[in-house]
């Protein structure tokens, strides 16, 4: 405790010496927090895009080994397996918030003049809406979400809707700052509002169905939106002449219960010799773009953090060495008063922590102000595979601030320790006669 008191008092009384180190910590803190704040916002955008907008929830249930690539047609979940899942869900209501059945669909869409490949899902409209809560309940850029329409309507992704000559009458920026679209039924027109969907059924027969384009939206991922089409599950099953589904997506009451749910489900499936597996949607082949994008962010984050911390560490070390050198006589006095060597290094380390805390507080103030200013500017850009332009936003994440504070305090304390270590080893007369 007395070391802490002395550390604080020394920092304040030698504030001129400590200023350099405090500034270095503040700079390092700002750089670290601003960059990671930005990365965390982009990560959240992607997470939100998959988890809510694309209705991935928390867990996927499929006939695959933890999401590995499978033949979707040959790995559908039949009625008996669906019953097993339904029973399991009934028995585990304590974990479950909502689940949605999905059937992967693909084929050729035609409006009488133009054809395009489509790829997408048939799903339970009502339950899907719940999976999109709270941000993406309204997921259409034009028209109403499918859960507010009849079951013969489909939603088209951005680019496929261009192929069919669908035009939103009034173009505007729809994405709100917190994600999701402003709920408004924007009118749109397509060259022809009816489409014929042609697919090959399980038995190899060609089947066709007429549907109405009811909404434009998609999942907000470039490339996927080039083909994306969503329709109701019952219509999709009718089109493919099947009662099977491709997979289930589950939202848990508490995402922390993921492990419990997965263990319980996989055990139950194994016991009944059912091939189904529950796993994290992030491991699924459909979410590969997500996983790889997160990998890229992680790599950037690590590189930037390493560079910034090293530069800041060097800068703090520099300032601490100077501070120690100028206080050699003080160290000598303390030693002659009976202070042990490790007590003195502890005082300097504590001083390092105090410097780290003060620097981090200053850095936080700078970060908050600059984040607010930059966020206000709303610089718009395209963030990788997200198809909607997004604003450049730096997140104010308390955990990040806390983590940066801890890391920089540790760096300051360590550098202070090393800076003082050599000085305290000198003999008392040498220390007392230092200039």
């Amino acid at each position: 405790m007395s070391s802490l008191k002395m550390g604080i008092r020394n920092t304040l009384s030698n504030w001129r010496h400590s200023l350099g180190a405090i500034l270095s910590v503040a700079i390092g803190f700002s750089a670290l927090t601003l960059f990671n704040g930005y990365i965390s916002v982009v990560q959240d955008m992607y997470e939100d895009n998959y988890r809510q907008r694309s209705m991935f929830g928390d867990v996927m249930i499929e006939k695959s080994e933890d999401g590995k690539e499978i033949d979707f047609e040959e790995s559908r979940i039949n009625q008996a397996e669906q019953n097993f899942i339904a029973n399991f869900f009934d028995e585990n209501k304590d974990l479950l918030d909502e689940y949605v059945r999905f059937l992967i669909i693909s084929g050729l869409a035609n409006n009488g003049k133009t054809s395009s490949i489509f790829w997408g899902f048939g799903y339970d409209f009502e339950k899907g809406r719940k999976l999109r809560e709270p941000t993406w309940v309204w997921n259409s850029k034009a028209g109403k979400p499918l859960d507010q329409q009849t079951s013969d309507t489909v939603m088209l992704g951005q680019d496929i809707s261009d192929t069919f000559g669908c035009v939103v009458e009034k173009k505007e920026r729809l994405l709100t700052k917190v994600g999701g679209y402003t709920p408004l039924d924007r009118p749109f027109k397509c060259e022809r509002d009816k489409l014929q969907l042609s697919v090959t059924t399980e038995s190899g027969q060609i089947n066709a169905m007429n549907v109405k384009v009811g909404a434009l939206g998609g999942v907000g991922l470039r490339g996927i939106d080039s083909w994306y089409l969503m329709m109701s599950l019952d219509r999709a099953q009718q089109l493919f002449d099947t009662q099977d589904i491709s997979h289930m997506r589950v939202r848990l009451k508490d995402a922390k219960m993921f492990d419990t749910f997965v263990q319980r489900f996989n055990r139950a499936a194994r016991e009944k010799n059912i091939e189904l597996r529950a796993f994290d949607w992030r491991d699924h082949v459909i979410a590969r773009v997500y996983k790889r994008t997160m990998g890229l962010f992680l790599m950037f984050r690590n590189l930037v953090t390493a560079v910034i911390l090293t530069i800041s560490g060097m800068s703090v070390l520099n300032a601490m060495v100077k501070s120690v050198n100028e206080r050699r006589r003080e160290i000598g006095t303390l030693r002659s008063l009976g202070f042990k060597q490790n007590r003195i290094t502890r005082i300097f380390s504590t001083e390092g922590v105090v410097i780290g805390v003060i620097g981090s507080i200053l850095g936080s103030i700078f970060c908050i102000i600059s984040s607010l200013v930059l966020n206000k500017l709303e610089f718009i850009y395209f963030a990788g595979f997200l198809s909607d332009p997004v604003p450049f936003v730096i997140g104010l994440v308390p955990n990040l601030y806390l983590l940066s504070l801890v890391i920089l305090c540790a760096i300051a304390a360590t550098t202070a320790f090393f800076a003082s270590y050599r000085a305290v080893k000198s003999s008392i007369p040498t220390l007392l006669t230092s200039v």
Binding site: Y38, D162, F300, T310, A383, G384, F385
Partner: protein, 456 residues
């Protein structure tokens, strides 16, 4: 000048330990920035080579007005007529005689079937000779070798009497096709047309898998139904994960036959690797206008024609620029911090110099030169560290998964000469400025105050 330089050297040597710490901050900052730029350069080259050559985007491409967005909606209306194709090629050839190729391509949708099952594909028709040159382009071999390695079988240019088709591995899998037609005379097919079709029989599927023949079916530009037979001569990778489920490539004449047209979606111009696309696009646009051709010119960096390249590089550039800004700020403040301490410590020395007749701006210049020298001395070390790191990483053959790319690519850190010079100049500028800013105030103090000042 040499006296001042010698003085700057001497002064740097006086505070060796502190200057070493500052230098290490500059060195690491510089090395980090170079490595990041090396990574970005590599990724950019991969995307550029893949999109321009393997996905036929071209350095420049000419479409009908609004053709980029609407050629699939109204292919007939937004196709280039043979006359437009001829004139455009002529203008391209005259304007850019250094070009590496000019090619016409047609794009559309088609169903590809194996007799039992059909699969929709986005199909591209391209000129055989050009395709051969594009696949063998040096940049593809150097930067997108991973995609070439994913290829199986032959190229479409190697066959004359049949309609060759390349499909992606996933399309082949979805169709249940494993057979690739070889260049040599094939053994008599195990499957013959006299066999009874029974799609529910697994043995029949095995026979189908062992036959390279497929049928392409599509709507013609006149909205009639059309079909042609084709032989799978190879499996390839489009490079883009999202296209892997549905991409196919055939010769241009075969696709024109399928769509019953002599039109084309676009004409692509392939310019030497380092040609800046924007001014070239402006020149071509002007030439087409002068020739009374109402056509649109696009270049490969545009979002509309190359969304993967534009979108991904945009994100990378935003992140890198942000990092660059932060790193420069950190280095600037670190150097300023050190210089401030140094200037304050040497207040009496500044006073003495002033008393000896040195002018204020001479003293400021001396500190600026000290900063410049410190920066300059750090650059070769930073470059060496970055180079050694890049050598270690490159030889480690680390594979990296790029979002949206169908295959893993090798991490190669390319230390770019231009970036090294620019980043180096920036850092030296920053250190010089730090020396200047920190010394201005002290140098302008009254002489008496400077001479009376204490060390700390």
């Amino acid at each position: 000048m040499s006296t001042r330089l010698a003085l700057a050297f001497k002064n740097l040597g006086r505070n060796r330990r502190r200057n070493m710490a500052t230098a290490s901050a500059i060195i690491l900052g510089y090395a980090g920035l170079l490595l990041l730029s090396g990574f970005v350069t590599r990724i950019e080259k991969f995307f550029r080579a893949t999109s321009i050559y393997l996905n036929h985007v071209g350095t420049l491409s000419v479409f009908k007005p609004d053709g980029v967005e609407k050629h699939l909606l109204k292919p007939k209306k937004y196709s280039l007529t043979p006359e437009e194709q001829g004139k455009t090629r002529e203008i391209m050839q005259n304007l850019f005689p250094e070009n590496e190729g000019i090619g016409t391509s047609l794009q559309g949708f088609s169903l590809i079937g194996n007799g039992c099952k059909t699969w929709p594909v986005r199909i591209t028709g391209t000129e055989k000779d050009l395709e051969k040159r594009l696949v063998n382009h040096w940049s593809v071999n150097q930067f997108s070798a991973e995609l070439l390695r994913a290829r199986r079988g032959s190229g479409i240019w190697e066959f004359k009497n049949i309609t060759p088709i390349l499909v992606t591995h996933k399309v082949a899998r979805n169709l249940g096709k494993s057979k690739i037609k070889s260049l040599k005379e094939d053994a008599p097919p195990q499957f013959s047309t006299s066999d009874t079709y029974d799609c529910s029989d697994q043995r029949f599927h095995l026979r189908l898998a062992d036959d390279s023949n497929v049928q392409l079916a599509a709507r013609t530009f006149q909205n009639d139904f059309s079909a042609v037979d084709a032989e799978i001569v190879g499996f390839y990778s489009s490079g883009l994960e999202l296209l892997e489920e549905s991409a196919a490539l055939v010769p241009l004449d075969a696709l024109q036959k399928l769509y019953e047209t002599d039109g084309a979606t676009k004409i692509s111009l392939f310019l030497p690797w380092n040609t800046p696309p924007e001014p070239a696009a402006r020149r071509l646009s002007e030439a087409l206008r002068n020739a009374n051709l109402d056509l649109e010119v696009h270049h490969y960096k545009e979002f509309s024609v190359n969304p993967f390249y534009a979108g991904f590089m945009n994100l990378i550039y935003v992140m890198s620029s942000f990092f660059l800004t932060l790193a420069i700020c950190v280095v600037t403040l670190t150097v300023s911090d050190t210089m401030t301490m140094s200037v304050l410590e040497r207040s009496r020395e500044i006073g003495t110099l002033r008393a000896l007749g040195f002018r204020q701006n001479q003293i400021i210049r001396m500190f600026s030169e000290e900063g410049t020298l410190l920066g300059l001395l750090c650059l070769p070390v930073g470059l060496l560290i970055a180079w050694l790191t890049s050598l270690a990483v490159n030889s480690a053959e680390v594979l990296f998964e790029v979002p949206g790319i169908s295959t893993q690519i090798k991490v190669v850190l390319e230390i770019n000469a231009m970036h090294s010079v620019l980043l180096g100049a920036l850092l030296v500028g920053v250190t010089m400025l730090s020396g200047w800013i920190t010394s201005v105030r002290t140098a302008n103090k009254a002489l008496v105050k400077l001479l009376q000042s204490h060390v700390s």
